[in-house]
């Protein structure tokens, strides 16, 4: 898990050049999540990624998150979680 996380940070930074730039897909969360609906920004990245993974596998039932998360690999989910955790 820790290894994955470090890898994801390196991958996301390598891909974008500097830490502030979002990894692919990360800006789409704010289309639904915001201060008035299940805020995700600033939450611990480990919680975010395990939540997203649980939706992806179907372990946690959902109306829409499962359908969306199936479009991302575990590494992509990890990178998004790390970036979202840094947002205010």
């Amino acid at each position: 898990m820790m290894k994955l996380l470090v890898l994801a940070v390196v991958v996301s930074m390598g891909a974008v050049g500097f830490a502030a730039e979002p990894p692919p897909g990360a800006t789409t969360c704010s289309g639904c999540h915001g201060p008035s609906f299940m805020p995700v920004n600033g939450r611990a990245s480990a919680d975010l990624s395990s939540g997203m993974e649980a939706f992806r596998s179907g372990e946690r039932p959902s109306t829409v998150m499962g359908r969306l998360m199936k479009g991302f690999s575990p590494a992509e989910i990890q990178a998004i979680a790390v970036w979202i955790a840094e947002q205010k």
Partner: protein, 414 residues
């Protein structure tokens, strides 16, 4: 590689230090795409000089306007000002762009003023293609409203429904693909059926369609059979649903098979990209704008990016959700390109909610990436709400639809 990395590491610093002035990005159209792009540009790089040109002082949202038509919401809840945009450091210009000169990178507005740009983003939405449906015109739309741009047209259709006596007949015509909001006509038909069932139960609703299949079809049709049996009738293309002419003087819809007279008629007409896209030379013969799916740059004119309904976005539908997602991806690409870097392949998402009744929501979702130059569905992801979901799930999705509207409109306008 090392050289490229170091350029990428400080694109803005490099520009700020050596360039004469901040890079200028001009955005035309302050709707879901354009207003989102302007904000995303500022957020990505506060040094970029962003100007947003919009014709109207107040934006009126199409999403949830079907609820206004049937009295479940008021039009004021659809309206959003531009104060938040100005507060975000964006130069707001109220006016209509009338011409674009790509060689000199200049845009002229209706008052004669001229704005220069380093990169231009167009999000003009749709124009009604009046010439594509015989009998339809701006004047005819005062009798047979389209209500496909929200505002006066939305209220006109609402007043007509309110004035119609019980036992009346409502006719809606839906166009062939592509058009703004693929599930929109069917959500509208559902909510009008809900209104009739509740207030004018002897009335009938006829939905004439130029297609044989439509978005979330199974979900809509099973809900109609359950909620509105005998009230709502859908006529497919094969069954003679394609409207070939309308007549406002008799409120009639002519198909290849016959003619239908309406007490209230709603023409959802054929559409094309907003006029300024044609003027800028970024539309092709289909009337829409082909783009590179990584940067959203026009395939026809360099330096101009197109997002939202006007763009040919492959498998992505023409929705407010998609326009917002594309805007954010486009803004990242534009900032990188201004810094001399290559844009990074985006991953896009769309979700369209529809209400079949106030407490009955359904959705369709998709995740997309560029494949062979087109935004393509990622297999195994996305899809519709389950066909056999219990009422609690439909109620939950109706709640999430409302939450989505609130979040999206604050993300764009607050």
């Amino acid at each position: 590689m090392l050289g490229r990395r170091s350029v990428l590491a400080m694109p803005f610093l490099a520009r700020a230090a050596f360039a004469q002035a901040a890079a200028r990005v001009l955005v035309i159209g302050g709707g879901f795409g354009g207003a989102s792009a302007a904000r995303a540009l500022r957020r990505t790089d506060p040094n970029v000089d962003v100007t947003l040109v919009e014709s109207s002082p107040v934006f009126t949202s199409c999403p949830f306007s079907n609820e206004v038509i049937v009295g479940l919401r008021e039009i004021g809840q659809q309206r959003f000002g531009y104060q938040g945009i100005t507060a975000a450091g964006i130069h707001m210009v109220q006016g209509t762009a009338v011409s674009v000169d790509p060689p000199t990178r200049r845009v002229t507005l209706n008052d004669g003023s001229v704005l220069g740009y380093d990169r231009l983003i167009l999000s003009p939405g749709i124009d009604i293609a009046y010439d594509a449906l015989p009998g339809y015109s701006e004047a005819a739309a005062e009798v047979l409203p389209h209500a496909w741009k929200a505002g006066d047209q939305t209220l006109l259709l609402r007043r007509q429904l309110e004035a119609m006596p019980d036992g009346g007949s409502v006719v809606i015509s839906a166009p062939a693909n592509p058009f703004r909001c693929p599930p929109g006509p069917y959500e509208r038909a559902s909510l009008i059926a809900y209104y009739l069932k509740t207030n004018k139960p002897k009335s009938k609703l006829l939905l004439l369609d130029a297609k044989d299949t439509f978005s979330k079809q199974k979900l809509f049709m099973s809900a109609w059979a359950k909620l509105y049996p005998g009230l709502l009738e859908w006529v497919s293309l094969s069954d003679g649903g394609k409207v070939v002419r309308v007549d406002a003087s008799t409120r009639s819809f002519e198909t290849e098979f016959g003619s239908h007279k309406a007490d209230v008629g709603n023409v959802i007409p054929p559409q094309r990209a907003g006029r300024i896209a044609v003027v800028a030379g970024v539309t092709d013969k289909t009337g829409w704008c082909p783009i590179d799916p990584v940067s959203f740059e026009s395939r026809l004119v360099p330096g101009i990016h197109v997002i939202g309904d006007a763009a040919v976005a492959g498998a992505m539908p023409k929705s407010a959700f998609a326009a917002n997602a594309q805007a954010k991806a486009c803004a990242l690409a534009v900032v990188r390109m201004l810094g001399g870097a290559a844009p990074v392949e985006p991953r896009l998402v769309n979700t369209c909610y529809s209400l079949v009744a106030p407490d009955y929501g359904i959705s369709v979702a998709g995740v997309y990436r560029p494949v062979n130059g087109l935004l393509t569905d990622i297999e195994g992801a996305g899809g519709t709400s389950p066909i056999d979901a219990p009422p609690e799930t439909r109620a939950l999705e109706a709640e999430y639809a409302n939450a989505w509207f609130k979040t999206l409109t604050s993300d764009v306008f607050a």
